[in-house]
């Protein structure tokens, strides 16, 4: 119990980052590199914060649902044109979307511009985050092996071949973009009600890169991989901070250096991510 209190912030961020990594996994699972999720997260965070600030009586569950719904509604008109793009072009277009969202919030007086919204009451608890994460994991896990799950894998492997098998690839890709947007928006609102603030600076390009790196390091081939990656990369800097302090090293550079080295090692030696580790050991043992 003491441990939980001492590390409450860290534990909460593991969960929030897990949700965010899953949000990007949603589109990765059908082979789409969409980087709109920091924008979706911002829309969710602002939606949730605005409701709480202007209508404090609204139950938190309704706030969270609205925060998931708002970016989903934006994802449909965004996805219809941009999901026609492939590979790096989709990535560029969705990065552009993220920047547009950020700039809208920077310049919008209603949301207090670049300063953002402050003094949001804390309504998120650690258990709220982990309940949301558990639900997200369960839904994504049940997709595997279903008709839709097979269709998503087929699109990821070869979209053209999938289409000649009767798979309506655009509908599947759009559904996953919408699902990812909902998860990112939910994570955004959970974070906003945990850290008390929302500001446009928190939803820049760096944020979506974090999500992507966590998903890839954890392993985007299985639904639980991104959560492992998020946990690993959220906890690692803290462990290194501690380690560096004991060794008497200046915390900043050492931490960043080791973080980079570990990241590189995982990408080079575990291309399928941390989630593939058990399988690797089993193969070596056999």
């Amino acid at each position: 119990m003491d441990l939980l209190l001492a590390y409450e912030g860290l534990i909460a961020f593991v969960g929030i980052n897990g949700l965010l990594a899953l949000s990007i996994y949603a589109t990765l699972s059908c082979g789409q590199l969409s980087l709109a999720n920091a924008g979706f997260m911002a829309i969710g965070a602002y939606t949730g914060a605005l409701i709480t600030l202007h209508a404090p009586a609204v139950p938190f569950i309704v706030v969270l649902l609205a925060a998931a719904l708002a970016p989903s509604l934006v994802a449909v008109p965004l996805g219809l044109p941009v999901l026609r793009l492939r590979g790096v072009f989709l990535a560029i277009a969705t990065v552009g979307f993220g920047e547009v969202v950020r700039l809208v919030f920077v310049n919008w007086d209603f949301t207090n511009g670049a300063l953002g919204l402050v003094a949001i009451p804390q309504r998120t608890h650690v258990w709220t985050i982990y309940l949301a994460l558990a639900v997200a994991l369960y839904v994504l896990g049940r997709l595997r092996g279903s008709r839709a799950g097979y269709a998503l894998e087929a699109i990821r492997e070869d979209e053209t071949a999938a289409r000649t098998m009767g798979i309506q690839s655009t509908a599947y890709k759009l559904s996953m973009l919408v699902l990812g947007a909902a998860l990112a928006g939910l994570a955004g609102a959970l974070e906003a009600h945990f850290t008390f603030i929302v500001s446009p600076a928190g939803y820049g390009f760096g944020r979506v890169v974090d999500m992507l790196v966590q998903a890839v390091v954890g392993g985007a081939a299985v639904f639980y991989g991104p959560v492992i990656g998020a946990a690993f990369l959220t906890v690692l800097p803290e462990v290194l901070r501690e380690l560096g302090a004991r060794l008497g090293l200046s915390p900043g550079p050492f931490r960043l250096f080791l973080n980079g080295v570990i990241l590189l090692a995982v990408i080079l030696y575990l291309p399928s991510g941390l989630a593939s580790l058990p399988q690797r050991f089993r193969r070596r043992a056999a």
Binding site: R142, G145, S146, Y150, A154, T164
Partner: protein, 253 residues
């Protein structure tokens, strides 16, 4: 079931890859499509399956125009295919490839039933997997059902691709060089399978370079050269057609 192509053309820039092609494929028929390299055979298959639209002419399936439909709609009307340059889902197992092939035939339970883990959803999945294994058995690949598609030999990949196409229970199957890279035994097994598939009342449109196999298996043959239909008829008629001999061996022959 009839597939009717009327004056179908497709240009790529200044090249007429398919030029005014007209022919029909009937149910229960194995229809060969032959011609020298670059004659437009694969382009024609891509036109029929909707991967590219024709620049002229019409394609009808059972009296219905399909030449402007997207590939997934054409598939839903009962057209399945294989690819000359094999397009299996490499990261999936052989069995999973065939399960994907059944996409249109699966009457999957709604997703909320899966979320509640109702047995009805489970049963449907088991059925789909059993059907896939049966499909693999038909092409002699049951033992390799669990193998990843990437790891299979060339001939094995072609057989899985055929199983994947048949899994949709199509009315029309388009086979693009199904025996390329196979040894004579494997090729003979494919030839038997093709006859069997036609015997079920399906139409088969077969591109094949193995002349002996084409002559044995096909009911009728259409010959393409430079995108144009230069001959059509029974194997015997086509084999003796002077235009065909000239196209294959050159005018001096």
């Amino acid at each position: 079931m009839t597939l009717v192509l009327a004056n179908v053309s497709r240009s790529f820039g200044g090249v007429r890859a398919v030029d005014d092609a007209t022919f029909a494929v009937e149910s229960g028929e194995v229809h060969g499509l032959i011609g020298p390299n670059g004659a437009g055979k694969t382009t024609l298959l891509n036109l029929i399956s909707g991967l590219i639209p024709p620049t002229g002419g019409t394609i009808e399936l059972e009296g219905r125009r399909i030449d402007r439909l997207p590939p997934y709609r054409i598939a839903a009307l009962g057209v399945a295919r294989t690819y000359q340059n094999i397009r299996l889902f490499g990261g999936l197992s052989a069995a999973d490839n065939v399960v994907v092939g059944r996409h249109l035939k699966r009457r999957a339970a709604p997703f909320w039933r899966r979320l509640l883990m109702l047995p009805s959803a489970r049963r449907e999945e088991v059925r789909a997997r059993e059907a896939a294994e049966a499909g693999l058995a038909r092409v002699g690949m049951r033992e390799r059902a669990r193998s990843q598609a990437y790891g299979l030999s060339y001939g094995e990949q072609r057989r899985v691709e055929i199983a994947r196409a048949l899994a949709a229970e199509p009315k029309l199957v388009l086979l693009d060089e199904p025996t390329a890279g196979m040894n004579p035994n494997e090729a003979a097994a494919v030839a038997r399978l093709v006859r069997e598939v036609a015997g079920e009342g399906r139409a088969v449109l077969l591109i094949e370079h193995n002349v002996r196999l084409v002559m044995e298996v096909c009911d009728r043959i259409t010959v393409l050269n430079f995108g144009k239909v230069i001959a059509r008829g029974t194997p015997a008629e086509v084999a003796n057609d002077p235009a065909v001999i000239a196209a294959y061996l050159g005018d001096g022959a």
